[in-house]
Symmetry: C2
Subunit: 199 residues, 2 copies
């Protein structure tokens, strides 16, 4: 690699540090950036700096925003007494796509995961408790991922919320709409059976 | 997507324009950059600008370099009378890895490809002809990829070089070392048979 210009190698290394980008891909991306017109490369660099500069967490719900308070928290039409707790900003987008939920969110920015050295103090649980303690919250809907860590985090938070005497719920488990019984795993099926509803 | 901060969406769009990066991956990369410490994000942006600023083509061989003349062309130990013609800078690295070649290179920066609107004037053929015309070149080794476009480009260039009365050669076709006869395609096999050598 001694015949690779240092600046090109540096750029490839930067790409290689991104998640899911291997050595060959990083090299290809670096070559691509080099082949861009100067102004395109500049606006790429600028987009990185601008995202870091402009985007911060909403002081209310901890979601990412470039305004003082995020558009959802600022929206007078949203029911502030219903808080849906999600792990990541992208989960807010997934929920919003369903157009079902009229309340507000709380983004934890992670889940409790001892294996990855993420403890309860590393995610935004304290902020949630303050929000609930400040009053007027009727229901907290746990919407972390239905995997081990998401489950454990939801259980942990619901235990902390219990003394505050508000309703704490969890997204329903069951079959995906459009999926096939044949391919459903047994745990999902047994949860779907457990949660069966009258029709 | 209206609840995505604009600066974050911009950054995801920038990643999405890179080759082989789809929408979901671009979003994930943008989130990742946002989660980096400020100085890491800054050095990423800086690496892009620095690569564009420092890296240019060597005036002799057209390979990418951050020096005035690239290290290979500047190396007195390399045989300047033997020019190996490759399509891309990364092909120089592949050739160098073999540690077999003691001559110098010429990087075309592409191959002739009418389908992609790349004509003979869009790649560095003229520069190669000037180099050869300037004298002292004994042999030009065509090392474009052994595919249709690489072949056609090699044929085109060799025809231009014919009046100059120098040796023009092509990398040998044949079996990959360590490969299995069973899996070799028929074209490669017939080329390997054609080019068989006494042992």
């Amino acid at each position: 690699m001694q015949y690779f210009p240092a600046a090109l190698q540096d750029l490839a290394d930067q790409f290689g540090r991104l998640p899911g980008i291997g050595g060959k891909t990083a090299q290809r991306l670096a070559f691509h950036v080099l082949s861009l017109p100067l102004e395109d490369a500049q606006s790429f660099a600028e987009a990185i700096l601008e995202a870091k500069r402009a985007v911060h967490t909403c002081p209310v719900c901890q979601n990412l925003t470039d305004r003082e308070i995020c558009p959802i928290c600022e929206d007078d039409m949203r029911d502030k007494s219903q808080i849906c707790v999600v792990a990541e900003p992208k989960d807010v987008i997934a929920m919003e796509r369903s157009r079902e939920f009229g309340g507000v969110y709380h983004v934890l920015h992670g889940v409790i995961s001892p294996l990855n050295h993420v403890s309860q103090d590393d995610i935004k649980i304290r902020e949630l408790l303050h929000r609930v303690a400040a009053g007027d919250v009727r229901e907290v809907i746990m919407a972390t991922n239905p995997d081990t860590e998401g489950e454990a985090t939801a259980m942990y938070i619901s235990r902390l919320l219990r003394p505050m005497e508000i309703k704490v719920t969890r997204l329903a488990y069951g079959m995906s709409v459009g999926s096939q019984l044949e391919y459903a795993d047994e745990v999902t099926l047994s949860r779907a059976l457990e949660g069966r509803q009258e029709i």
